[in-house]
Structures are given as C-alpha cells and as structure tokens.
C-alpha cells in the first residue's frame, strides 16, 4: 500500500471558527498539514475532536474554510474516498464480525464485493487482526475493537488518515505494534493526524505536533524546535562528570549558559537557553579538561515538558 508521489496529501484550514450554542469549540484556526504523522494534542474539550470532524466533513465551520486536497469535505463527498477516519466513539453493529464490518464499510467506497473483501482482509492483517476477524465484534476486547476501527480507516488506501485516540484500551503489546503501524503510514507518504492523550506515545510516533487549548492553536511544529522557542523557559540540564567544579567554571563562560550549580561530588546542573549550542561545545570543553562525561540529559526537553509549559 503506497501512494504515488504526485498526489501529495494536504489539508488547509483557514480562519475556522465553530460554536456549539454558546460554547466555543474552535476559534480562528489556521493550519496546513502535509504528508507525515502529526500529533494533535490538548486537554479534554479543547476542540481536537471537533477539528477532526471538520476535516472529515461531519461538521461545517461557522466561518472560515476547510480544504482537503482542495475540496470542501462538507460539500463535496468525493473527499471521503481520499480520507480514512477512526472515530473515538466505540460504536459498532455488535453482531457483525470484524471482517464483515470492515468489508461493508469498504464497499461503501464503491468497491465490488470481492475487491472490498480482499481489501478488508489486507487491512485487518495490517493491524494484526487476521486471527480474530471472524469473531463477532461483541466478543472482542477493547483493543481488538480499536484495531478493527483502524483497519476500517485504512482499507480503502486513503492518502489522509485521521485517528482519534487510536490507542485507547489497547494493552502494551498492542500499543507498540500500533505505534509502528502509524509510523509506517506516515512513511508511506500519507497525511496522518493522530489525536492522543498519552504524550510519550505521540512522541514515539512523530516529532511533529499541533497543540490546541480552549479551541485555539497554542503551538505547531517540531517538538524540539518548539521547545527551543520557549525563551522564558531555559533548559535545565544535568551532567554527571568526575570534577564538576572544573567543568562548571569552563561552561559558565559560554554566553547561553545562565547558571551552574554543583550537586555533590559528581554532578553539575545548569540552565541554558540554547541546548544544541551547549551540546556542540560540551565534548570539546570536557576533552580539554581531560574529563569523561558519564551521563547527561535535560529533564525538560521532551514533549511532556513542552505540553506542560504551553497548556498548563
């Protein structure tokens, strides 16, 4: 399942606002997404699901435009052939088997019975459900239901895949597989949007994220670069090394290092505004002093910290 490079998937959201009665769900959202995996993050009720519903044409924006490959998903149902959606709700025809369910939904995209069945089986195999696809959905565990929903989203080989909380209820074994699957979908050149609450899992899928808060965009882009943009939050950094005092004296001379603190006999903590510059300079400084750095790392350089700083 690969797609030709000519049809690069893109979606464009411009000035989109959506209200539900007096509740503001989305406010002036501008967003462009290309191929690859994008993590969609935010607290409950921040508008993530609304955004996915707008993209998949289930809702119409009050103002602004949504374009998926140049088409309006609400008005032009041709979009649906190019789009796969794994919704958050856990609703099925419980008596159907997984295979029948995916086949039926694939047929809705205009495939013949045989082709649809072949595609359904291929998609179910991809999510690792071959063994269980003839069970009625009623008898499936939460993780299997989740996989079936994902299979349904990718069976018609869409260049755009929207996954709303795809990992809920799957166990650790299943999670690792699904993460690998999402990464693979992105590497095939599809535009994959994944909303999730579990940040380290998003980090395992992609480094490109969109953060929403109270219906407004809070940040978008590469996790590492976004973190570097937060000037008011210098990186905390910890180095474990033999003679911390000597290294501290050398490092405080660097322009981007704001403070150093010696912790015990073998560790050094510092704050810096430019993590990468520090890391480029560090091996040289250590070598000059004849020190071997045992461990180093920044406790607040990951997505979890970014999320905390931006959302809370």
């Amino acid at each position: 399942m690969t797609i030709d490079a000519a049809s690069v998937a893109t979606m464009r959201i411009a000035g989109v606002t959506k209200m539900f009665g007096t509740v503001r769900a989305l406010d002036e959202i501008d967003l462009e997404l290309g191929p690859g995996v994008t993590g969609l993050l935010g607290p409950n009720g921040s508008g993530k699901s609304t955004l996915l519903k707008l993209i998949s044409g289930q809702l119409r924006p009050d103002t602004g435009t949504v374009r998926v490959e140049g088409l309006d998903p609400f008005a032009q149902p041709e979009v649906f052939a190019r789009l796969g959606l794994c919704p958050e709700q856990d609703k099925f025809y419980e008596e159907q088997t997984g295979e029948a369910f995916v086949t039926a939904l694939t047929r809705l995209h205009g495939y013949g019975a045989r082709e649809a069945k072949a595609r359904a089986q291929a998609a179910l195999a991809r999510v690792g459900m071959t063994e269980h696809m003839r069970k009625p959905i009623r008898a499936m565990s939460r993780g299997m239901r989740q996989r079936t929903k994902i299979a349904q989203a990718i069976a018609h080989d869409p260049p755009i895949v929207l996954l709303d909380e795809p990992l809920t209820g799957t166990d650790p074994l299943g999670r690792a597989d699904l993460i690998a699957l999402v990464r693979a979908l992105g590497q095939e050149g599809r535009c994959v949007v994944v909303s999730s609450h579990v940040l380290h899992e998003v980090e395992a899928m992609t480094h490109q994220v969109v953060l929403v808060r109270y219906g407004r965009l809070r940040a978008q882009g590469d996790i590492g670069r976004l973190r570097a943009l937060l000037d008011d939050r210098p990186y905390r950094f910890r180095i474990e090394v033999g003679r911390p005092r000597a290294l501290a004296a050398a490092l405080i001379a660097l322009p981007h290092v704001q403070a150093t603190e010696v912790v015990g006999e073998s560790a050094l903590e510092l704050t810096t505004t430019d993590l990468m510059a520090l890391c480029r300079a560090l091996p040289g400084e250590a070598a000059r002093l004849g020190l071997v750095i045992d461990q180093l790392g920044s406790p607040d350089a990951d997505l979890e910290s970014l999320y905390r700083y931006l959302i809370e």
Binding site: P43, G128, L178, H200, E203, C279, P283
Partner: protein, 317 residues
C-alpha cells in the same frame, strides 16, 4: 502482606479467567499489568469477595476474602473501571455516602468527604451533580469514594483511562504522594507502563489468567541483563549507530525517532560513545544509562512464561 493468593482459579463458561494463581505481594505501590483478558479485573473482584473463586484461597491484608468479605472491604478502597455513579448526587454527597456505607456517621462522612476532595483536587465542582462531570472530575470522585473510609489498600482499575495529560499527571502525582505518606498502599491496574514506572515499586504481570511475574520492579529489570545507554541528539545519528555497531556494541532504535539505545561491550565506558559521536559529527543532548525498559521486561515476562503465543492481542506485523 498485602495480597496472598494460593491456587486461585475461576472459570466463566468457556473462559478460564484465572488459572491456579499463586503469589504473595508486599509493597507500598503495586502495579497490576497484563494484556486485555489477562484476568486483572477478575483478580481484583476476587480480592473484594465480589466473586467466589472456583478453587484456591485469597487473603487480603491477612484476611480470607471468601470467608469475611465485609472485613476485607472495610480495609480496602476499590475504584472500578467504567462510569459507575449514582445520578443526582453531587460529588461531595457521593463521597460522603460511600463513607456512610462504610460505617462513618453522616457528619464525620461529610467532613471527611470535604477533606478527601481537597486532596484529590475537586474544588467548586463538588456541589454539582455527578452526571455533569467530565472524565477527569469523575475519576477524582471515584478515587475519593475509594479513599473516604481510610482504607489500608487502595485498588484502582484503570484510573487514568480517558484522562488528558494534565489530569493524568495530577492523578499520578497524588498516587506518588500517597505512596510516600502513611496512608493506604496502592494497587494499580493499568495498560500504561509509564504509569506503573512512575508510581509503583512492585508489580504483578498477568497473562491469560496466570501470573507471569510478581515482585519488585527493580528485580524485574535486573532479570533483563545489563544497563543500556539512551542517546538523543542532532546530526548524523544513523552514522553514530553504525559506528558504534562496528565497534561491537549492541545498537537498537529508541522509542522516539531521534533516539538510539546502545548496550556497550562489558568493560567499556561512555567514552566509547563520545569518541564515536565526535568521529561522525553528532552532538548528543542526552546520554543516559538506565536499567531495562519496563516494556521489554513486560514483553519478556509474557513471552517467557512458557506460552507459545504472546497475548491474545499480539499483532503479527
């Protein structure tokens, strides 16, 4: 001793939910791990005396759960998975009611409910009816109901499911505080290994109704062998990986796209990493030694339990 199970079995029709489970557990915070259908919830319900095992003995805090479920439940706080609630009651009333059912007087129960809701962080919303609550508020109320009668063991079934990162973080922090304090010990059933790593010191790994591991997290990791280094950085990471591999170190991709895991040849120190990084021009911002990932240990425990199959859920990709 928190839990002591001897030869516990339970069958539901064709499904063998628990298969001769024997384990003894102690600790301040226990993680209960396992794939879907491993029997985690069945185990907890057996501890509460909510179901009677077909065979075997369940002792909770030294009490036989089958013979005296009342005494067990008095000393146990249980929060089930799912949206259990009493519609119409406010969060405060729900928690106070739970306390009254455990024998507190109405006045004590109300005061205690306020105190517990302060602790779990449900503020002005505590006077609103529970059916208006969000998932996060609801989880807090369930936790409050489990804590109100000052149990000795808190049993939580998937308490972080459906929570957003902020709420999840707060809940886990609270559990860590409970572990550190002199309050109840915690037993936490979850799918999220990260939650267990953050909160727990002990864990049980179950698969298909059997216990694959029961003991401290530290030992579980130690079983997996040597420490490894996690590297993250910028520049030619692929080059760094092949340089390290050429020198004979074991290199594996990390959990994140920009990470590497390296197991150095015994006797080699981190200077091997620095040398290789210098050579290929990669600058590293993380070089951290750590024990085995819980995830690997978990997989190994489930694989190594003599089962030819990895859990029901395992995908073959």
């Amino acid at each position: 001793m928190l839990l002591a199970l001897h030869g516990v079995s339970k069958r539901f029709g064709a499904l063998q939910a628990l298969r001769d489970v024997t384990c003894e557990l102690d600790g301040r915070a226990v993680g209960l791990l396992g794939p879907n259908g491993a029997g985690k919830t069945t185990l907890m319900r057996a501890c509460l005396g909510l179901l009677t095992p077909d065979a075997g003995e369940v002792r909770v805090l030294g009490i036989d759960a089958r013979r005296d479920p009342g005494a067990v439940r008095m000393r146990l706080g249980y929060a089930a998975e799912g949206p259990h609630r009493i519609p119409g009651l406010s969060g405060l009333e729900s928690v106070a009611y739970a306390g009254e059912l455990c024998g507190l007087s109405r006045r004590t129960a109300l005061l205690r409910a306020h105190e517990i809701l302060d602790l779990v962080g449900l503020d002005e919303a505590r006077q609103r009816p529970v059916e208006e609550y969000s998932t996060g508020m609801h989880q807090r109320v369930k936790l409050g109901m489990a804590l109100v009668h000052d149990p000795e063991l808190l049993m939580l079934d998937e308490p972080t499911s459906g929570l957003d990162p902020g709420n999840r973080d707060e809940l886990l922090q609270l559990l860590v505080r409970l572990r550190e304090g002199d309050g109840p010990a915690v037993l936490l059933s979850t799918h999220l290994l990260h939650d267990v790593e953050r909160v727990c010191d002990t864990c049980i790994i179950m698969d298909r109704g059997q216990v694959r591991y029961a003991g401290s997290l530290e030992q579980l990791r130690a079983r997996m062998g040597d420490d490894e280094h996690v590297l993250r950085g910028e520049g030619d990471l692929a080059g760094l990986a092949s340089a390290l591999a050429q020198a004979g170190h074991a290199v594996a991709p990390g959990e994140r796209p920009d990470a590497l895991r390296v197991r150095l040849i015994p006797g080699h120190g981190p200077e091997a990493i620095w040398r290789a990084a210098q050579a290929v021009g990669a600058s590293l911002w993380q070089v951290q030694r750590r024990g085995q990932r819980l995830e690997d240990a978990f997989m190994a425990a489930i694989d190594g339990g003599g089962a030819e199959h990895r859990g029901e859920e395992r995908a073959r990709s």
